[in-house]
């Protein structure tokens, strides 16, 4: 070792500072976000419906994921800047307060609740044509966001269920809409939650002096009641988060529950969130998703198309991206506003 070190020392001394500078570029994170093309994932890899298992499905239904890199290194920032396929943005004021681990937790909460929405919408639609299918759900209020000033920040986890708050004059509020009305007089109130393991806990949350808010964001979700739902399903863990696979997951689940194969042998992909009423919702990273689908050679790509006049409408933006990178969108890029639009489009393929 010493002999080699002695021999290499003049070179090492010369290169030490550039070497350390290069390592700094490679490992120092900065408060930006990079969206880059990712891949497509067949929904069958993550959702397993225990039903119709002999049914032959000739095509495939995939969600599209992109690489959303929070806090990239300087090197990634520079490489992304020169890549025609990436989009670089400064981190939003909401995201900048969260650690990368917290952003991951929020992303998985989004994904999990999106799958629940897909199941509810697809089962409800399938129940119309298949009386064997039944679906039930419960409505819960979950912790979706935490501000830096939230008291007991580390004790409350994303996804914990809000149960109640003991408000003024001993009034117990159990819904989001009532919280503001019963927490007027005092600076601190007792909030009760249920954690992921089912344990109930109560914490006294104080209002922030500057904003007069508790610093907790709650959101209402419908979650599948497995007791009265048939057939059963399994949702496997995956490394992919976010709600943008909702629309395509709904199509996949629906296809598993009905007799005919709605894929018609096509390699189907797409993006878009799903609402409980079956409406598609906007997603981010349109450019990267279009490129991902194009690179993957899909036959059809569904994307939310809700308002032709809106400059940031996903379909309108997708057409712009196609023009920018020289992709012909005709025949495979399809704008849809709802789950039903997709079903109707696929039904027309047969004709």
């Amino acid at each position: 070792m010493n002999e080699l070190t002695n021999k290499a020392w003049p070179t090492v001394r010369l290169l030490l500072i550039p070497y350390l500078a290069f390592l700094f570029l490679l490992f120092f994170p900065i408060d930006y976000e990079i969206d880059a093309p990712g891949g497509i994932t067949e929904v069958s890899q993550t959702i397993d419906i225990v039903y119709n298992e002999d049914k032959v499905i000739e095509g495939s239904i995939s969600t599209t994921y992109i690489m959303a890199i929070a806090r990239p290194t300087w090197f990634m920032f520079i490489a992304g800047y020169f890549s025609p396929y990436t989009t670089i943005t400064k981190m939003s004021t909401t995201n900048i307060a969260y650690t990368n681990e917290e952003l991951r937790q929020i992303s998985y909460l989004d994904k999990e609740t999106s799958v629940e929405a897909s199941i509810i919408v697809a089962y409800q639609a399938a129940a119309v044509v298949n009386p064997e299918v039944t679906i039930g759900y419960v409505t819960k209020t979950l912790v979706f966001g935490k501000a830096e000033y939230l008291s007991h920040y580390d004790e409350i986890e994303f996804g914990d269920e809000f149960v109640s708050v003991l408000g003024d004059d001993g009034v117990l509020a159990t819904s989001i809409g009532d919280i503001a009305a019963v927490t007027v007089d005092a600076d601190a109130y007792d909030f009760t939650f249920i954690d992921a393991l089912g344990a109930t806990y109560t914490l006294t949350l104080e209002k922030d002096a500057a904003t007069a808010k508790f610093g907790i964001t709650l959101k209402q979700y419908h979650l599948v009641d497995r007791e009265i739902t048939y057939p059963l399903y399994e949702n496997a863990d995956s490394n992919i988060g976010g709600p943008s696979g909702g629309l395509l997951s709904t199509i996949f689940v629906y296809n598993q529950l009905v007799t005919e194969d709605i894929t018609h042998g096509l390699k189907i992909a797409g993006t878009g969130t799903i609402s409980y009423d079956g409406a598609a919702g906007y997603i981010g990273g349109v450019k990267q998703k279009i490129l991902t689908a194009y690179f993957a050679g899909v036959d059809v790509f569904f994307i939310p198309y809700l308002d032709p006049a809106y400059v940031y409408d996903n379909y309108v933006e997708a057409l712009r991206v196609c023009e920018e990178v020289g992709i012909d969108p005709s025949g495979w890029l399809v704008g849809v506003s709802s789950f039903q639009d997709v079903i109707d489009w696929l039904a027309a393929v047969e004709d």
Binding site: M1, E3, L4, T5, N6, K7, A8, Y19, F22, L23, L26, F27, I34, A36, P37, G38, G39, T41, E42, Q45, M67, I69, P72, T73, F75, M76, A79, G80, S83, Y85, T86, L291, T292, F295, A296
Partner: protein
């Protein structure tokens, strides 16, 4: 029979090298090779990982580059280990270089098999 003879010749070569450099000297040279090769390879691998993250659609291309980088690492370790041995005893007579080439070939084969497994089994399974 031929393979048996080759293995025997290799064993003799190993014994000669060991007698000349002693086990401690050999391990020291190998350690030096690993340390310096790692210092050189870490930035290369970090660059590849970071470029791959923003170019996932070229995953296989980057997987091949990783395999090539692993080949480079193996050969660099052995090359630097040989340089270290030569610096220890410039007048050495045993075939340390030949022995390290065999060592590099064995590790290259291991990297190649692992790389092929990644390209054909693990990556398709992870991205399916």
């Amino acid at each position: 029979m031929d393979l048996k003879r080759r293995l025997f010749a290799l064993k003799i070569k190993w014994e000669t090298v060991r007698q000349e450099f002693k086990l401690r000297g050999l391990l020291d040279a190998l350690f030096a090779g690993i340390v310096y090769a790692t210092l050189i390879t870490v930035p290369v691998v970090a660059v590849l990982i970071e470029l791959m993250l923003i170019s996932m659609h070229r995953l296989y291309f980057f997987a091949v580059l990783y395999i090539l980088a692993a080949f480079g690492f193996v050969w660099l370790v052995n090359r630097l280990a040989y340089v270290a041995l030569k610096l220890k005893r410039p007048d050495h007579e045993s075939d340390a270089k030949g022995l390290l080439i065999v060592n590099a070939c064995v590790w290259t084969g291991f990297v190649l098999i692992t790389g092929i497994l990644f390209l054909t089994v693990f990556i398709p399974a992870l991205t399916a």
